[in-house]
Amino acid sequence: MPESFARWLANAGISAGFRTLFYKEVLRFWKVSFQTLAAPILNALLFLLIFSHVLDRHVTVYGDIAYTTFLVPGLVMMSLLQNAFANSSSSLIQSKITGNIIFVLLPPLSYRSFYAAYTLAAVLRGLFVGLGVWLVALPLVDLPLAQPIWILAFAVLGGALLATFGILAGIWADKFDQLGAFQNFLIMPLTMLSGVFYSIHSLPPLWQQISRANPFFFMIDGFRHGFFGQSDVSPWLSLGVVSACFAMFAILTLALLARGYKLRG
């Protein structure tokens, strides 16, 4: 698949440098898809089996939606976001540590191509994983698709935000454990506390307020709206928040890349 994909990009008249870097980044996770795609899908499936077994008969959300059904979009989005982050951040830190980052620093690639290629490849990995989680969950739940355009919008935008975040983390970190800290102390808690596993309406008022300071909440809530046609807050509000976050981090990352921050000493 990657070969024909590269040809398709070539025919679309997109800059060769960007195209190649994007292709290389896709090939990189594709070649180890057992780890980069299959493993996270299996992970999400385990969550789903355990939680549904424990909770399904006892809990309903939004009135009459079974808990497992409510849970699936959250799991899909969580997997998508985490893998988008993992892709760009681990690719960059690996290249920095092994030194092969110079292969992309020596050629005449612009920092914009650099940013776009790493971001889009990471989004693509996120989408693959998300799609995989959704597919394996299909036989287990009866999941509606109320407004699929929201699903697509939040999948792409959320993926791009986390991919960008991954680039920032990958540029900033000098060691794997710094990246691990990023993942364990920031990304994981924010995802876990974002309403993947619950509707924030089930929380005490103070925690509802706190959840609203978490951009992950808006990504997941908006994404879920695409399935159920209802959500904790308006999807337009979520779209606004997520877009604003994305724009902010994209600008910051582009500015750092333009300066060669940590990449060109």
Partner: protein
């Protein structure tokens, strides 16, 4: 006059209060085979990195074939091929994939004919579909050379390409690089093997603590800085030592001289004194002497 292959104007690079490059001015003409020598930490790699855009100079300007490496980085990088000092590789790819990807970064499509030619000339053809991970160090080094050439750069910089490489590969590599030079490529080379620099390079700069301390043609450097040596083995070496000779480890007494006319009176004097000449050797000047002389100056 054609534009120089490389022009470096008053370049400095500091890391905090440490000056890795303390004001470098250098011009290398097209077609030169140029050597950049200096002890570890002299700043050779730093200078190459600023040229390649991997490092930003603190002040000063650098040009590759007239293109500013900061202001016009795209054009400058198209004209430059760099073989890095570190043996880096991407474990995800095969040799051919690596070279295709590298071509793509330079905007070159359908580069397979040239890739095949480089592979053949570097004796890598049999390894084309081997993953980078399983190649030996020498093979990885050759792939780095191949990668630096995919975009046919007019200027090629090799940073210690033969460090840790066996003799056979070194010979092969130099043969290849000489051919590139004969084809019109400008070559800049750093190496620890001074005899290599001596035979290959037409001109040499010696770097010490971020400064150029010697810059001349190899022939001039050899003439200017190094004396030929006359080595004698004598029955009574103390007589030679009294005349300014220096005993070396191998039991010879060594005299430096610039002109052969100095030898005759010396030998006559020793004979008169009855020093008892047993054996005689002539040492030709070499770059190592020049290097040691310059670095200790």
């Amino acid at each position: 006059m054609p534009v120089p292959a490389i022009r470096i104007d008053a370049v400095t690079k500091s890391y905090g209060s440490f000056m890795a490059l303390a004001g470098i001015d250098l011009e290398i003409a097209q077609g030169e085979f140029f050597g950049l020598l200096g002890p570890n930490g002299a700043g050779k790699t730093t200078l190459i990195s600023t040229l390649a855009g991997l490092t930003r100079p603190t002040s000063g300007k650098l040009f590759v074939m007239g293109c500013d490496v900061v202001g016009d980085y795209r054009e400058a990088r198209r004209r430059l091929g760099v073989v890095p000092q570190e043996l880096v590789f991407d474990p995800f790819f095969t040799v051919r994939e690596m070279l295709r990807i590298q071509s793509g970064y330079f905007g070159i499509r359908g580069n397979d004919d040239w890739i095949d030619e480089i592979l053949a000339r570097l004796d890598l053809a049999a390894k084309a579909d081997t993953n980078m991970r399983v190649l030996s160090g020498g093979m990885k080094r050759r792939v780095l050379v191949a990668q630096a050439l995919v975009h046919r750069p007019p200027v090629i910089v090799l940073d210690e390409p033969t460090a840790g490489v066996d003799v056979e590969l070194r010979q092969g590599l130099w043969h290849f690089v000489k051919k590139l030079n004969a084809d019109g490529h400008t070559i800049v080379l750093t190496t620890h093997y001074l005899e290599e620099a001596e035979t290959l390079c037409g001109r040499i700069a010696m770097l010490k603590a971020g400064q150029i301390v010697a810059l001349d043609s190899t022939a001039n450097l050899l003439k200017r800085f190094s004396r030929r040596a006359l080595r004698l083995r004598l029955a009574r070496p103390e007589l030679a030592l009294a005349r300014g000779g220096v005993a070396n480890d191998a039991g010879w007494v060594e005299f430096g001289f610039e002109s052969a006319t100095e030898i005759e009176p010396l030998l006559a004097g020793l004979r008169l004194a009855g020093a008892g000449l047993e054996d005689i050797q002539l040492g030709e000047p070499d770059l190592e002497q020049v290097f040691v002389g310059v670095m200790n100056a």
